[in-house]
Amino acid sequence: MSTAVISTSAAQGRFFIFDDESDAGSHAFHDPEPASSYIRRPQSAIENQQSKILSTVTPASRLSVRPAPEMVSSGIAAIDTLTGGLPRGCLSEIFGPASSGGMTLLLAALAAATRRGEFCAIVDAGDALDPQSVVAAGVNLHQLLWVRCGGHSPQKNKITDHEIIKSESFLAEHNLEQLLRAADLLLESKGFGLIALDLCDLPPQTARRIPLATWFRFRRAVEHTPTVLLAIERQAIAGSCSSLRIKLGGNREKEQLANCETKPTHARLLTGLEISAEVVRSRMERKPVRTAEITFTSKTAWAG
C-alpha cells in the first residue's frame, strides 16, 4: 500500500493520509465524472460516497510516520540528548520547583538561539531576570527583547495603592494579563527565533487560571513558523497543547547538603546546581512516552 501525506486545509492545519490503492480515495482525487452527474445523484448516494472517503482518511495522530518539526539545540548537551532539542513551531513546557534549574535551562536556550543569530524575546511575569546571569550564560543582549510585566501601566495607575497592597493576587493576575497580551503581540509580530514565557513567579493558582483556549491559540500562532515557544512554570499547565514537556528537579537532599562540606562557611563556595530532567510528554515520538531521565550539572559564573 503506498501512502501520501496531504495537508487538507490551511485552516485545519492537520495532516491526513490517503490510500492511493483504495477505490474511494482515488475516486476523490482523480474525479472521472463530470460535475453534473453529482447533481443528478440522490442525496443518500452522495452521503455514502462521502462516508467511504472519510473512512479512508487517517488522522495525523494515527500516522506511523509523522512530519517531525525541526529541532534546535537547547544549549545543554544533556537535554539535547534526552529530547533531541527544542522543536520549532511548537510549544515546549519546562516545569519544576524552585531551584530546579528552570532559569538555567531558559538562559542556555536563549544563549544558543542568539548564537544562531536569531532574535529572542522573554516575557517575564515576575520581572525576575538577572542581567548578570544573562551575560554569564552567553546571551547576546542586543538580540534579546525583555518584557518586564508589572510595570507602571496606565491601567495600574487607576487602582489605589491601598488596593494593590491589600490584594497580592490582584497583582499576580495583573501581571498574568500583561504577559498573555504581550505574548499574543509578540507571536503576532513573528520573526523571533525563540519566545520564552516565564511564569515561575506567578502563584500556581493564578497560573492555572490561564484557559486552555489561550494555550491552544499560542500553539496555533506558533505553528508553521520557525519560532520556538518556551514556557517555564512551577507546574505543567498547558495540557495537551505542549509538544514537549520537561520536568526538572534538583538533586539536593538535606542530609547530603549538611554533610557534604565540613569546611567553615567562609571557605565554602556554591559551584553549581545538579539538575535532573525528565521528559514527561513528547508529541514528536509515535509511541507513548517512556520515562527518560538525565542529570546534569550547571556551574555558577564564579566557579571558574
Binding site: T114, D130, G151, L186, K190, H266
Partner: protein
Amino acid sequence: MFASIFVPNFSVAAVLRAEPELLDRALGIFEGKPPLEKIVAVNEGAKRMGIEIAMTKAQAELCSEVVLRARSPRQESTAHAALLDCAQSFSPWVEDAAGDTAILDLAGMESLFGAPREMAEAISNRAADLGLETNVAVASNPDAAMLAARGFSDVTIIPSGKETEQLGSLPIAVLFAKGHEEEKDEAQKRTGEILATFERWGVRDFHALAALPPVALSERLGQEGLRLQRLARGAASRTLVPREEPPIFEETIEVEFPIVLLEPLAFLLNRLLDLICARLTTRAFYTQELRLTLDLESFSLSNRQSEIGCRPNQFQRTLRLPLPMLDPKLFLELLQLDLNAHPPGAPIKKIHLIAEPARPRSAQGGLFLPPSPEPEKLELTLARIAGLVGESHVGSMELLDTHRTDGFRMRRFIPNAARLSQKQQHSDAEENECAVAALRIFRPALRAKVTLENGGPAYVACTKKKEVHGAVVWKAGPWRSSGDWWEREAWSRDEWDIALQNKTDVALYRLVHDLLSGGWFIEGTYD
C-alpha cells in the same frame, strides 16, 4: 525643454489641499484684522453665489452656504513645498518662480518619462496625488512655459518655434500676473501705468503686443516694453535659477473648533501623514523622526512640555524610529499609541507635523540568514507592549559599569544585523561550555527575619513569600562588598548563599545583610 507647473487660485487650493471635503462647497478666504477682514480669494462655487474679492467678511457671511476660512500662510507654504516636491520628482533642476509656480528643466528626461505630453500629464497627475489641481505647460524656454501655464488650463504643449502663434491668444494681463506674491506699491503703480497704456493703444492680447514695431515700443516704454514684447512672442531667453534649499516636510491643519477627543485628532493626523508620505515618496525619501506639535487652547500643567524650548501653549511629541520607514498607517498607529500614553491635556486648535527626511534603508535579506522581525511590525508591537507594561519595562538590557546589584538600564530594542554578525563570531567559542547556574531575582528584594547561630544564618522566615521559610541546611559566605560611598546612595552588604529546607524540597537562595540599614533580605533564588 522646460515645463511650468502653475496652481490657479493658490490660497483656495492650499485650503482645499488640507480640507478636501470642502471641494464641492462654496469657499471664501479672508484676511485682515477683525473686524476689517476682507475676502481675498474665492472658488467658482462662491463666485456663483455672488461672493467677490474685496468684500468684507461680514458681507460674505450673509450667504450661509459659503464656507469662510482665514488665509493661512503656513498652509500656503506647505502647499508651495508640495508643488516643489512634485517638480523635483521629475527633474533635479527646478526654479522656484513664485508661490504658485515652479519651472523645471526637462532636458534629457524623455528617456525616463516619454514624450513631452506624457511628461506633462504625469506631472499633472502627481500634483493631483499631492492634493493640488494644476496647469502644466511645456515650452522651449522657461518664460513661455510659465506664461502658457498661467494662461491655459490643464496641459499645454508648445512646440519649438510656435511660441508666438500659441501664446498670441492670451490676454495681456497674464504678462503682469506676479503669481501669488505681493507686489510693492511702486511696482504696482508702474504695472498699472503700462496696462493703462496698452489699453489706450488697443493692445489686449499677446498677438497685438508681439506685432508692435520694437523701435517705436522702445521709444515709448523703454527696455521694459521690449522685455514684455519678447515675453509675448515667447522669445525671451534666460537660464534657469535652480532651487538649492534643503527640503522641509511639514504639514499643518488649523481646526475651526478645538478638538477634545483623540479619535477626531487621529482622523486629521491620518490626513497629514498621507500628505507628508506622498511628498516623501515623490522625493524618494523615508523618515526616521516625526515631530508633532499641537497648539492647545489652554494649558494648565507646565510639566506637560515634553521638549525643552516649546512654547507654553504648545504640546510636542517626537516619534523616533529605529530605521527609516514610510508607512502612513504605521505612523498613525504609533502616534495614536503615543498620544494615548501621553495625552495633550487640553483642546487642540492646530496640528503641525514635521517629518525629518532620511535615505531609504538599503538592506538585503539573505536566503540563509536567520529570521528576524520585520522592522515596521516590530516597532508597532513594541509600542503596543510599551503601552501595556510601560515604556521603561520593554527593550533590551544594557549592563552598567558598577558592582551594584541590578546595575543595568533598559534601552530601545533595535535588531541590528551588523552588530549581530560581530557578536556571532565572538560567541562561537562559547557554544560548548557548561550551562551557567542562573539567579532568579526578587524585585524588590524580600525582607526576611533571620535567626543567627555562630554569626551565620540558621533560620530564615519571609512573610511575603511563604515558601521562603525554613532552617538553613547549608550556607556559604559571607561575601562582603560595598560601593558608591562617595555618593548619597552608598551600599554595603554581606552576601550568603543558603539552602533552605522547605516542606518538600531544598531550595538555594541568596541572602543579603544590608550593613547600612541592618536589614536582611532574600535577593533571589538560584534556579
